[in-house]
């Protein structure tokens, strides 16, 4: 069961990443696309146990860091998505999360992950960007992620729940 769950999670990350770089640039707003990998990680954090979600966040981040056309310093998305997964797992309640709670968690995780990525960029001087540009990127990314939540999160959460019944929230 555990293998199956890992397989499903990794497949979700691969599909999310491929769509993110190949499909969504055609509908992007000033080059800002929805972060589907983050949505996969949040879906895992809201349904299954925290260690799984954390490791999945790390793995999804590494994939985002290494898969072409990425050229930033590797490890930055890994750090951002691990922390986002940790936060999403913290706010998780014992009962099934309401739609509003899910959207709130996605918005918060998206804000934290994109900001954290931008901050590491500022610290490492990876590209030098203006603060207003960063703010625009962060806010538009949050809007994108929230917009896609109703289409992406429910099926993913159903999938994770089915693959790990012992952790499923009732």
């Amino acid at each position: 069961m555990s293998y199956l769950r890992w397989l499903a999670a990794l497949a979700a990350v691969v599909v999310a990443l491929t769509l993110q770089v190949s499909l969504f640039p055609h509908v992007a707003w000033h080059g800002i696309v929805p972060n589907l990998c983050l949505l996969v990680v949040v879906a895992a954090a809201l349904t299954v146990e925290a260690p799984f979600a954390l490791v999945l966040g790390f793995v999804a981040g590494i994939t985002l860091d290494l898969a072409p056309p990425a050229d930033h310093i590797a490890g930055r998305w890994a750090l951002a998505l691990t922390v986002a997964a940790f936060l999403a797992a913290r706010v998780r309640q014992d009962q099934k999360p309401t739609a509003l709670a899910v959207i709130g968690t996605v918005a918060a995780s998206s804000f934290v992950a994109t900001s954290l990525f931008a901050l590491t960029g500022v610290v490492l001087k990876d590209p030098t960007m203006s603060v207003s540009g960063l703010l625009e990127v962060v806010l538009v990314a949050v809007v994108w992620d929230v917009l896609l939540t109703p289409f992406v999160l429910p099926p993913l959460m159903k999938l994770f729940t089915r693959l790990s019944p012992q952790w499923a929230t009732t």
Partner: protein, 313 residues
């Protein structure tokens, strides 16, 4: 006393409830710390490694795996991206024809006036091409994936790699002008750094005065924001509407003589005592599709190569 005890009981019940929640989905601090440290280690490795970073082989492996998936996804999406073009009205097309006729007439006028200049230029051109045979050919490729703004790097993946004869630091152009250079290749894909990336610097030459300078990306896809040009010679003032081309070298990453863009604005900075010009790129980076990679003439490739004289091989 009783009331107080009751309250304490109630509070304790709530605490135990929280404890139960905690134990059920305990966020493992140690795991978080371990993963964060792993990320920081990766960052450190990549930063300290510089050009020959130990992450590079991992990037290549992941690229080999994701390249075909990205190519397939882009091929599946491509028919749908053309849909908006079907819905253009006759009015739009008529406007476009009128604009094109106007610009055609203007260009024809320029060409007729420039007869003398052209003759002189031809002599120079013959001289330079005899001296250094550029002898480069173009490998056609399509853009299959674009980096997101969140990732803060302006890079794209193209569907031609080392099998097509492409290697790092090769110049990438399209029919409008300079697109960027190849950063790294896998067997079937290559990652291209666009010239609008803030990390990208291209040696540029102002067309009319032959002054040299450096063109850096502004980190924006907006055409107006464009690129920054700083001239080496502080005294020379670039003029508006002048064309900027690469000065490059045959060994460096950018081939010489590729048009980059036109100067739209010129600022003089008193503090730095230098001239700064805004260059509008000729390439529309938000709608990149077919590009060409400049490879040495006669190099082996898995696809048809466009040779310097225009023939297909």
């Amino acid at each position: 006393m009783r009331g107080l005890g009751g309250r304490q009981d109630g509070r304790e019940r709530r605490w135990t409830g929280l404890d139960r929640l905690e134990s059920r989905n305990r966020a493992p601090r140690s795991l978080l710390v371990a993963l964060v440290l792993a990320s920081v280690t990766l960052i450190t490795l990549d930063v300290s490694g510089g050009g020959s970073s130990p992450i590079e082989p991992a990037r290549r492996v992941v690229g080999e795996a994701f390249g075909p998936a990205e190519s397939a996804a882009a091929a599946a999406v491509r028919p749908f991206t053309a849909v908006p073009a079907w819905f253009r009205s006759k009015g739009d097309l008529a406007d476009e024809v009128r604009d094109l006729e106007a610009s055609n007439a203007e260009l024809r006028g320029k060409v007729e006036l420039a007869g003398f200049d052209r003759n002189r230029l031809e002599q120079y051109d013959g001289l330079t091409s005899a001296a250094t045979d550029l002898g480069s050919a173009l490998v056609p490729a399509r853009v299959v994936a674009l980096g997101s703004r969140q990732s803060q790097s302006f890079t794209v993946t193209i569907d031609a790699g080392s099998d097509a004869g492409i290697g790092p630091d090769m110049t990438v152009v399209n029919n409008d002008g300079l697109v960027g250079r190849v950063l790294r290749v896998t067997r079937s894909t290559a990652t291209v750094l666009l010239i609008v990336d803030p990390d990208s610097t291209v040696g540029g030459r102002v067309g009319s005065s032959m002054e040299i300078g450096f063109v850096t990306g502004s980190g924006s896809l907006k055409e107006a924001a464009g690129l920054d040009l700083r001239l080496v010679d502080d005294a020379s003032v670039p003029s508006r509407d002048d064309t900027v081309v690469t000065w490059g070298s045959s060994t460096g990453p950018y081939a010489p003589g590729v048009p980059i863009g036109t100067i739209t604005e010129v600022y003089s900075s008193l503090r730095e005592a230098s001239q700064r010009a805004v260059v509008k790129p000729l390439v529309d980076f938000s709608a990149l599709d077919v590009v060409g990679v400049m490879v040495p003439s006669g190099s082996a490739s898995d696809r048809a190569i466009i040779e310097a004289d225009g023939s297909l091989r």
